[in-house]
């Protein structure tokens, strides 16, 4: 029983990280219908910027995260302005190629600037908490709490504020949104800003339990794509639910089925869900 609860906790931790990454990916997809392969690189940049702020500028962990959110959000906006916006009339394949190009560029850039070594992000929340035979670390609790808080905030923002509503409107119908006077350019930039910010939060939270290195985005990006396909491309509740499904299937699958096959479990789940609901759990009509 203890093991079960411990593994639920482990699944919740990793699922929270997955969900945050998938959210950013699904937002961009919902609005621009671009599978942003470079999202993993944004995640990685978030980790490096937080780390640099902490080690080179001596900022506190939270302040460093804040700077990193803004910086990565800005990279996201620049990506939209310089790459995706000029390509908006091009065939869809060009977006995909461009996204892969950005991914390679950012990874090489990170290796050039910060080197290829593994780096450790120190966290002020390194304490270990033992409770009822279970082990929590503060950082892990923080990941869960903070991730859920961010998700709630995002949901409120999208549903209850006017600017948030423009994002929803645009994801439902771009032309329609344009007709009722929504500035689609500004909304697209805003979406990239939020998407980059989410990636940066996810990485800054997860980095202290792992390491920071140029290829770290690849750890999560493939899984994030599985999640948004599973949850329905462009769906926000789908990304959150999908993130946790994947997190739990990994931790519980590794415990009760086999560690060596835990990745297969996630993909089998994907196959089953797609056979029953080919458009994903929370599909939106159309695209």
């Amino acid at each position: 029983m203890e093991i079960f609860v411990q593994q639920m906790f482990n699944g919740l931790t990793i699922g929270s990280v997955y969900a945050l990454v998938a959210l950013g990916l699904t937002l961009v997809y919902g609005i621009l219908h671009i599978p942003n392969f470079a999202h993993g690189a944004l995640y990685m940049m978030g980790g490096y910027i937080t780390l640099t702020m902490m080690t080179n500028f001596g900022l506190h962990y939270w302040l460093a995260i804040l700077v990193s959110i803004l910086a990565v959000g800005l990279i996201g906006v620049l990506m939209e302005r310089l790459v995706f916006h000029p390509l908006r009339h091009a065939p869809p394949i060009h977006d995909k190629i461009a996204a892969i190009g950005i991914l390679l560029f950012l990874e090489a850039f990170a290796q050039y600037v910060w080197g290829a070594d593994y780096q450790t992000m120190p966290s002020p929340y390194d304490q270990v908490v033992h409770l009822f035979g279970l082990t929590f670390t503060m950082q892990r609790l923080l990941i869960i709490v903070f991730a859920i808080a961010v998700m709630i905030l995002l949901y409120v923002f999208l549903k209850k504020t006017f600017i948030g509503a423009t994002i929803i409107a645009m994801s439902q119908d771009r032309e329609g949104a344009n007709l009722v006077g929504i500035n689609t350019n500004r909304t697209a930039m805003l979406t990239f800003l939020i998407s980059g910010g989410l990636a940066s939060i996810a990485c800054s939270l997860a980095a202290p339990i792992n390491l920071v290195f140029p290829g770290m985005g690849q750890l999560v990006i493939l899984k994030a794509f599985v999640i948004i396909i599973l949850g329905g491309m462009g769906s926000i509740p789908g990304a959150i639910l999908g993130g946790y499904i994947l997190g739990f299937s990994e931790s519980l699958g590794a415990t009760y089925i086999s560690n060596d096959y835990k990745d297969i479990i996630a993909f089998v789940l994907l196959v089953i869900i797609l056979s029953v609901k080919p458009t994903g759990l929370f599909a939106k009509g159309g695209h």
Binding site: N56, L78, Q111, A116, Y118, A206, A254, N259
Partner: protein, 401 residues
């Protein structure tokens, strides 16, 4: 207007980039310049090839192995080069990136042979070595400077392979004995899921069981895919092991050890030779977390004659502590040069290989970062195994009988 805007955008991205570059404290090394065949002072150039991972997830490892060779070459050139048959030569290291892929190693080697006529090609992974062994004894012969502790690569009868590090199976007996004496007979396997990790497991398991031990959990961790190790470590600890077998690149291996401690593990660790205790300490913060770990003696704690000078120079040049990757490739480069002198040839790989023992004998005392008295018939350096354990937060050397 459109043009102006994109111009502004571009300039912003550049400003951003340069500000980030400015933040960066570590300097990336400049690429090696390509000298002409004969330099002003009348010395000819011998090209030494290198093919290893210089980009991608293993780039840090490739870089460290290359650093050792480059540093040795630079020192030799600064001292005026070396003389073979009355003719002066300087070294030029030509490094190519193979992204850790054996097929790329093969392609790189062909290129090195055609463009640079390299008599020796270093490669730091067993897959790459295997790819080179396919054609290194055919028309364009060359010596493989193999930085891998895999015994198979020298035992397959390839006559032009030199294995630089000690073979890993020598570690199994002392490691097992130490951990069994200090902690107990139940072990859980959590090494990296690379081929090398699997080979290690396959050697360790029968020996551990022969000594009356039991493997209670046997799995591996894919450091390129797993974001978090808590799940698998929880599962391993559920079986109440006394000892954990861990390994892979130092930093993620250290994370595994740290997370095991967080989950309440009190036993010892067998650390695969790929991971280095001093590099692991950088991640864990102190050696206390690693108490009871046994592994390869970190170069910085070693007492070989060439160590102090080497550490000082390496730190000055690369701004980090050297590991055995750098140390062994450094010494190997010197040995190859001494072997060329003894052989009286800089371009006949067979002659150079035949004089490797002379090269080892003539190696200057102050370059002996490791003491390697002998090369065996198959081409493996027979250095002494120096291993160490962590006890009470300190590195303690362990004698191998």
């Amino acid at each position: 207007m459109q043009k102006l805007r994109s111009l502004v955008g571009l300039s912003i991205i550049f400003v951003f980039m340069f500000s980030l570059v400015a933040c960066n404290s570590s300097k990336s090394s400049s690429s090696a310049s390509k000298p002409s065949k004969t330099e002003a002072d009348g010395a000819s150039t011998v090209n030494i090839g290198y093919s290893g991972p210089l980009s991608g997830p293993a780039a840090f490892y490739g870089k460290r192995t290359l650093n050792g060779t480059e540093m040795a070459a630079e020192e030799i050139n600064k001292a005026g080069g070396f003389e073979v048959n009355g003719k002066k030569y300087k070294l030029n290291v030509v490094a190519l990136d193979d992204k850790y892929l054996p097929n790329e190693t093969g392609a790189n080697a062909k290129r090195l042979l055609q463009e640079n006529k390299t008599p020796i090609i270093f490669t730091p992974h067993s897959g790459g070595v295997a790819a080179l062994q396919v054609f290194n004894q055919t028309e364009n012969k060359f010596i493989i400077g193999a930085y891998t502790s895999e015994p198979k690569i020298t035992e397959n009868g390839n006559k032009l392979t030199v294995r630089i590090p000690p073979r890993y199976d020598g570690y199994i007996e002392p490691f097992t004995k130490y951990e069994m004496d200090h902690f107990g007979k139940k072990i859980a396997f959590l090494p990296t899921s690379s081929q090398y990790g699997k080979d290690w497991s396959e050697k360790l398991q029968p020996y551990w069981e022969k000594q009356g031990g039991k493997v209670v959990y046997n799995s591996s961790i894919d450091f390129a895919k797993d974001t978090d190790f808590f799940t698998i470590v929880t599962n391993a600890l559920k079986k109440k092991p006394d000892v954990l077998f861990i390994g892979g690149a130092s930093e993620p291996t250290a994370k595994v050890a740290k997370q095991a401690r967080e989950l309440g593990f009190k036993g010892g660790f067998i650390v695969m030779d790929q991971a280095k205790l001093d590099e692991m300490k950088k991640v864990t913060g102190s050696y206390d977390v690693l108490n009871g770990a046994i592994g390869v003696m970190p170069l910085v704690h070693s007492e070989s004659p060439g160590i102090p000078e080497f550490i000082k120079n390496y730190k000055a040049k690369y701004n980090e502590d050297p590991g055995s990757e750098a140390g062994l490739n450094y010494i190997a480069t010197y040995v190859f040069v001494e072997a060329m002198k003894a052989a009286g040839s800089v371009d006949d790989p067979e002659k150079i290989r035949a004089h490797m023992q002379d090269g080892l004998d003539k190696l200057p005392e102050d370059k002996k970062v490791y003491v390697i008295p002998k090369i065996d018939d198959h081409g493996g350096f027979e250095g002494e195994l120096i291993i160490a354990a962590v006890e009470d937060g300190k590195i303690v050397p362990i004698k191998v009988k």
